[in-house]
């Protein structure tokens, strides 16, 4: 289980902001990944939810604006 539905009705990542391998796995499984601006990319894995244009940071993790 990588996700929960948050109170905005969006999918929120359960791995927090430091689970680089889980965030990479999630993006590899997703066909909607689009790389964000280089300045906003924070993961060394190029294809990672942490680097995706559709992740919106929350205080403790991020929510996905696409799914």
């Amino acid at each position: 289980m990588l996700w929960k539905t948050n109170k905005n009705g969006n999918k929120e990542f359960l791995g927090g902001q430091e689970s680089r391998h889980l965030a990479e796995r999630a993006a590899l499984e997703c066909d909607m990944f689009v790389a964000d601006d280089e300045d906003e990319c924070v993961s060394d894995e190029p294809r990672s939810c942490y680097n995706c244009r559709y992740r919106r940071w929350t205080a403790t993790a991020f929510e996905c604006l696409k799914t």
């Binding site: 993961s43 060394d44 919106r56 940071w57 929350t58």
Partner: protein, 244 residues
């Protein structure tokens, strides 16, 4: 005269980022012959459920040395630029701070630091801008980008916040290079370890995939870490730089 220019909340999830617009605006200033611009820095604001932001809540700031007589023209241009180039649904804000003679530097810095910690209302940003005499304007949507725009100038003024926009392409025959060579090819002014030790100019650094600098002690600073396995310095990873 020296000014700081900062913009925030110009994007939506499908548009160009605020950093790209900041670089375009800086290029415009130089193309018009109004002055010369410094590289753009990115400043992270608070991420909080009560704050409406697109996806990351960061502001983009640059310094410029301009002909004082052009300040009015430059400000008018920047306003029009934001109206024209900001994405639909965004809430753009613009701040321009003339630094010569600015006496309330501390208030601006305090505001910048506060914007990283707590939720701030737009009215507070306007009140401070008016009191210290800096330009602050909104250009669409709710206009809440004025908060980050003002805060971004304060954070840039600290000299110790943010990453420089973009990454360096360093020409070298191998993946190894010296601080002297990095400083010759880029705007990096100092190379330091994560512990704060300054490397001497002839040490060897192994370049990572994306080489970026951060703002430390007012300087474009390249951070490196010691790799005990290879007994060498390596440029920091994105993961290591994300806290800046």
């Amino acid at each position: 005269m020296k000014i700081l220019v900062c913009i925030d909340d110009t994007d939506n999830i499908d548009s160009r980022g605020t950093g790209e617009l900041a670089s375009m605006l800086a290029a415009d200033i130089e193309d018009h012959g109004w002055g010369t611009c410094e590289p753009v820095t990115r400043h992270q604001m608070l991420v909080h459920p009560d704050i409406a932001y697109t996806s990351h809540n960061s502001a983009m700031c640059f310094g410029a040395e301009i002909d004082e007589s052009r300040l009015g023209e430059l400000t008018a241009h920047a306003r029009e630029f934001l109206v024209r180039e900001s994405a639909s649904g965004s809430d753009p804000g613009l701040c321009i701070v003339p630094l010569d003679g600015l006496s309330e530097t501390d208030d601006l810095i305090t505001f910048g630091k506060k914007a990283k910690q707590v939720v701030i209302a737009k009215e507070e940003a306007y009140a401070l801008a008016e009191r210290i005499g800096v330009h602050l304007s909104e250009h669409g949507g709710t206009g809440i980008g004025v908060i980050g725009a003002l805060a971004g100038t304060g954070l840039r003024l600290t000299g110790n916040d943010g990453r420089f926009r973009g990454h360096f392409k360093i020409e070298t025959e191998s993946d190894q290079v010296t601080p002297a060579e990095i400083m010759r090819q880029t705007h990096v002014e100092v190379v330091k370890s994560l512990d704060g030790d300054v490397l001497n100019e002839n040490e060897t650094i192994v370049l990572g995939k994306k080489v970026k600098s951060v703002l430390q002690d007012g300087k474009s600073t390249l951070l490196v870490y010691n790799d005990p396995e290879g007994d060498c310095w390596r440029t920091c990873t994105k993961q290591q730089l994300k806290v800046y």
